[in-house]
Symmetry: C2
Subunit: 299 residues, 2 copies
């Protein structure tokens, strides 16, 4: 059977760069609408310092007010041990870690080297495993860096190998700036397949240059079965001003379902979820399918 | 060598559905900017009745004022013999014909059956050939119809065979409503390959649901080498309200060039050309690359 697992990042990656902070109640409605649409994994917040990411300052409120649906997992992002310690009070289903495949990006973003970031991720992974919490490990800038430009497959493999060694549950290829193309995705996935089963590698593509869906189709053809996306295509990257955000969940679902790849997700339900945020923000969202279908899916 | 030929449809397919009519002088500047960016074939107007397509009412002015660059071809669309007769006064480099692969679409659009439309196209082709004018033949609704929904490969093949018989120079698969996906593109191209070399089939994909680029990448992998696109992604379809337009030239060029597929086109030049229209219309255009790069490409 042809299928793909969709991992929703709208409430976290989608909203974290919004200029206006979305109220907790809207976030909770958004998350509920996403699970109602059939999303089974919804990354719902980040335990980051509010000074750095004000949009996620309400992580404790989101976690304590969240009505968990049966069969749905609600991972949270934790940048470091401090974040993990704050998150663990809420017994998260999964924690997500990030290490960039770019020395400069790590230095500029978290003031650490790649090796220091890996050591931190390792410590969190060990502790999470001890507590029985699954770990999802993002390799950001895996297809390019806003500072260094091209990123070698070797740099990505270095991190993937470290993640594999500490036994994370899932590795995520993060195309943070959306610069990847079907050929570079193919090269990277072929390299990664030597150490990790491609069906357990998640693809996290941004649509900055309109290639996220083409990249996802290529990744699927190569054996990838887990795809990150955000409803409405929420989530611009602060390093690419004016650029669009994550691959839109509805664009991905519509394409895959038409290709005969089952996702278990209700397209209209995703559009309705995105509409909640669109209405709150008072603006159009970037997703093509959202723009085409929103008329028929008024909630 | 990996290469693709880009056929620019912005001045015709891109502008024909704009609600405000773009003045001839802006169109001419747009066409000039496109040839300056390296586009070698630019479909520049349509000899249709102004009552049906007011945006193309200035076809005679466009053709008589056009400064033709050496090595650049400026095809025009002619819907019927009347259109051809009006166009031939301007000695067009190529004429483009359209027959839809949907009985209902033909009936609603031109009040003719498929067979009557094919007979008309045949007459124009014979006359164009007699005058030594190359003929480009669009099969519209080739991957779906706004009225009939799915369109069978058989219906497309029927028209492609008729076009092949009358010896048109190029057949174009038109995904008028943007409903195609990489799988349906693959099925259709494999069928068409039995009667026509895939490298001489042009792919004309609309981006209504965000799949145009994924479809183009698939078509390239199968052997397609000619791709239609419009600068800025201009060109909504009146049958899909709010939907985006043609595959954007800059999205296609940026993706292909990164994949190592040469197009001979200057990306910044395309963005500058699109900016002229964006400025005139006073609104943002849909192309992802345009949105990401327009800051760096001010003309």
């Amino acid at each position: 059977m042809d299928f793909a697992h969709i991992y929703e990042v709208g409430p976290r990656d989608g909203l974290q760069n919004e200029q206006s902070v979305v109220p907790t109640s809207v976030k909770l409605d958004f998350i509920d609408a996403l699970s109602a649409a059939g999303l089974k994994r919804i990354e719902c917040t980040a335990f980051v310092h509010p000074k750095w990411v004000p949009a996620m300052a309400d992580h404790a409120a989101v976690m304590s007010q969240l009505k968990k649906e049966e069969g749905v997992s609600y991972p949270v992002l934790v940048p470091n041990m401090r974040g993990f310690e704050n998150a663990q009070k809420f017994k998260p289903d999964t924690v997500a870690l990030v290490v960039a495949a770019s020395e400069t990006f790590n230095q500029k973003n978290i003031n650490q080297s790649v090796d220091a970031a890996l050591a931190g991720a390792d410590a969190v992974t060990v502790e999470a495993r001890r507590q029985g919490i699954p770990v999802r490990a993002y390799i950001s800038c895996a297809l390019g860096c806003p500072y260094e430009g091209e990123i070698s497959s070797k740099a990505v493999m270095y991190i993937a190998e470290a993640f594999a060694k500490t036994k994370v549950d899932e590795i995520v290829i993060g195309d943070t700036i959306g610069i990847g193309d079907p050929k570079s995705v193919e090269r990277l996935m072929r390299d990664l397949s030597s150490i990790w089963s491609l069906e357990h590698i998640a693809c996290h593509f941004h649509d900055t240059y309109g290639r996220a869906l083409a990249n996802a189709v290529k990744a699927y053809e190569l054996g990838g079965r887990i795809f990150d996306s955000s409803a409405g295509g929420l989530g611009g990257c602060p390093y690419a001003p004016g650029a669009s955000g994550n691959l839109a969940t509805e664009d991905l679902v519509d394409c895959f379902e038409r290709m005969g790849i089952q996702t278990g997700i209700d397209l209209d339900g995703v559009v309705r979820a995105a509409s909640l945020v669109s209405q709150h923000l008072g603006r159009q969202l970037n997703s093509r399918v959202f723009q085409a279908l929103k008329g028929r899916c008024h909630s």
